[in-house]
């Protein structure tokens, strides 16, 4: 049986890991390779590196640090931020990333997802979706890495979830913006509704503040993985403790220490 995945997300700005609250006030969290190696040793199942400056500045991700991460760790990792064509995606994958996540550029030009899937296979292509509640609707947001340049692409979240799957995305990371950074739990209602129309792996993002939130999202929204940043970076939640506790609660995790072999 496939284990659920616990995924620390490392927001990268100018080659350093940072973390903000509700996408603002970014604070430095440390060196990329050191943090990546620490999470690998603690039993993280996968890492996501999100270059938060790449998309708003219309530049693509720097591959130098990707190669350093690939040399250092032996768990899968995904790179997001500013990947807007096959050439850039190839450079990121050849540098050693296992997956590429596209968000704003896919909203600019949805066929990008199909081009990437045709070239590298769906298993490499993750659709990142930033979603916000508007009354009784859920809507997608674009360029969320820079609040001053954020765009409303006039798309309904559920329609976009269906479309990215049809285009060939092999995984969806749904970032629920209303709960992001406030540590009051994942948006279970929204994730359940997306789960119902999502046949590919679904990763929950935004809102993790306590171990109970992870149990809740796996039990109630049936997601395949949960992504978080602050609670891991700050040491508020230790990954080995979280996985052991989830395991006792009946959730299948890759619980044995990766150091044990």
């Amino acid at each position: 049986m496939v284990a659920v995945r616990i995924i620390p997300c490392l927001d990268v700005r100018d080659g350093r890991v940072v973390k903000g609250v509700r996408f603002r006030n970014h604070r430095e969290m440390g060196n990329i390779v050191d943090l990546a190696a620490r999470y690998r040793d603690e039993g993280a199942d996968e890492l996501v590196f999100y270059d938060i400056t790449a998309s708003p500045q219309k530049r693509s991700v720097d591959t130098e640090w990707i190669a350093r991460v690939a040399k250092a760790i032996d768990i899968p990792f995904c790179v997001a931020g500013g990947i807007r064509d096959v050439t850039t995606a190839r450079a990121v994958l050849h540098a050693g990333a296992d997956k590429i996540s596209v968000n704003s550029p896919a909203l600019e030009r949805p066929e990008l997802i199909g081009e990437l899937a045709a070239e590298f296979g769906s298993q490499c292509v993750v659709a990142g979706i930033d979603s916000i509640r508007e009354g009784d609707q859920f809507r997608v947001r674009q360029y969320t890495g820079d609040p001053d340049n954020m765009v409303d692409p006039r798309r309904n979240t559920f329609e976009w979830v269906s479309e990215v799957q049809r285009l060939g995305a092999g995984e969806i990371v749904l970032n629920c913006m209303d709960s992001d950074g406030v540590r009051s739990g994942f948006d279970i209602d929204q994730l359940r509704r997306v789960r119902a129309i999502c046949r590919v792996p679904l990763i929950a993002s935004g809102g993790a503040g306590a171990p109970e939130h992870f149990l809740e999202v796996f039990r109630q929204a049936d997601v395949d993985g949960a992504l978080a940043a602050t609670v891991f970076h700050s040491g508020l939640i230790a990954i080995p403790d979280l996985k052991a506790w989830l395991g006792k609660s009946g959730i299948v995790t890759r619980s044995k220490s990766p150091e044990a072999a």
Binding site: M1, V2, A3, V4, R5, R40, D45, A67, A70, K71, D74, I75, P76, R90, L93, H94, A95, G96, D98, E119, F120, G121, S122, Q123, C124, G170, E171, R199, V200, P201, L202, D222, D224, G225, R254, K256, P258, E259, A260, A261
Partner: protein
């Protein structure tokens, strides 16, 4: 450790990771699509990400189909590299290397399971005395990413997602993993080390 590990350059995307993993084990390793370099490797790794059709077209264009078929040293296929060892793949109805009898087919999963089969899963060792199994724990986890899979005949370890499929296969000097040993933390490193230490 051992010398002249060769990783066949199939043009796929996870090649750097395989090379890094071999380096972490302290072995020399080169990435090449040149026939004479591949023939002279003491161990050969056939990686691959992407589709069966694209990968076979790349091998044909590089003139490597017969080269790979005629190798007598230990060979390890990884992920798509496992699938290419079979007679054919239903992915794009592709003729493959025909080193192992059987057809690779798409995983069919019930509603509660997802495709691709993406994430960490465990093995059932059917041939636990195989050299690749040395030092592994029965409950170790390995990282899988795939939608197509090979039948369980010739498997020395199987995995299950919707149906049982080959997780590790062996036929003569050819072995292969459906999971990514280079991305499976210490458990995967053990498998790679066992391969590098295997006897011709």
């Amino acid at each position: 450790m051992l010398v002249s590990i060769v990783v066949i350059d199939t043009g796929g995307a996870n090649l750097a990771s395989v090379v890094h993993a071999v380096h972490r084990l302290g072995a020399e390793c080169s990435l090449t699509s040149r026939a004479e370099r591949i023939r002279s490797g003491s161990r050969v790794i056939l990686p691959g990400v992407g589709s069966a059709g694209t990968a076979m077209a790349a091998l044909r264009e590089a003139g490597l189909v017969e080269v790979i078929r005629s190798l007598t040293q230990p060979v390890l296929g990884i992920c798509l590299g496992l699938q290419l060892l079979y007679e054919r793949s239903e992915e794009g109805d592709t003729e493959c290397l025909e080193l192992i009898p059987g057809t690779v087919s798409k995983l069919e999963v019930p509603d509660r399971l997802r495709l691709p089969h993406m994430g960490w899963n465990q093995l059932h060792w059917t041939v636990p005395q195989d050299p690749l199994a040395r030092g592994v724990d029965a409950d170790d986890w390995y990282y899988f990413v795939h939608s197509f899979a090979a039948p369980t005949e010739h498997a020395i370890a199987t995995c299950e997602h919707g149906r049982p499929f080959a997780a590790i296969v062996r036929k003569d000097n050819f072995s292969a993993c459906q999971f990514h040993p280079e991305k499976s933390a210490s458990a995967g490193t053990r498998i790679l080390a066992n391969f590098l230490e295997s006897q011709p």
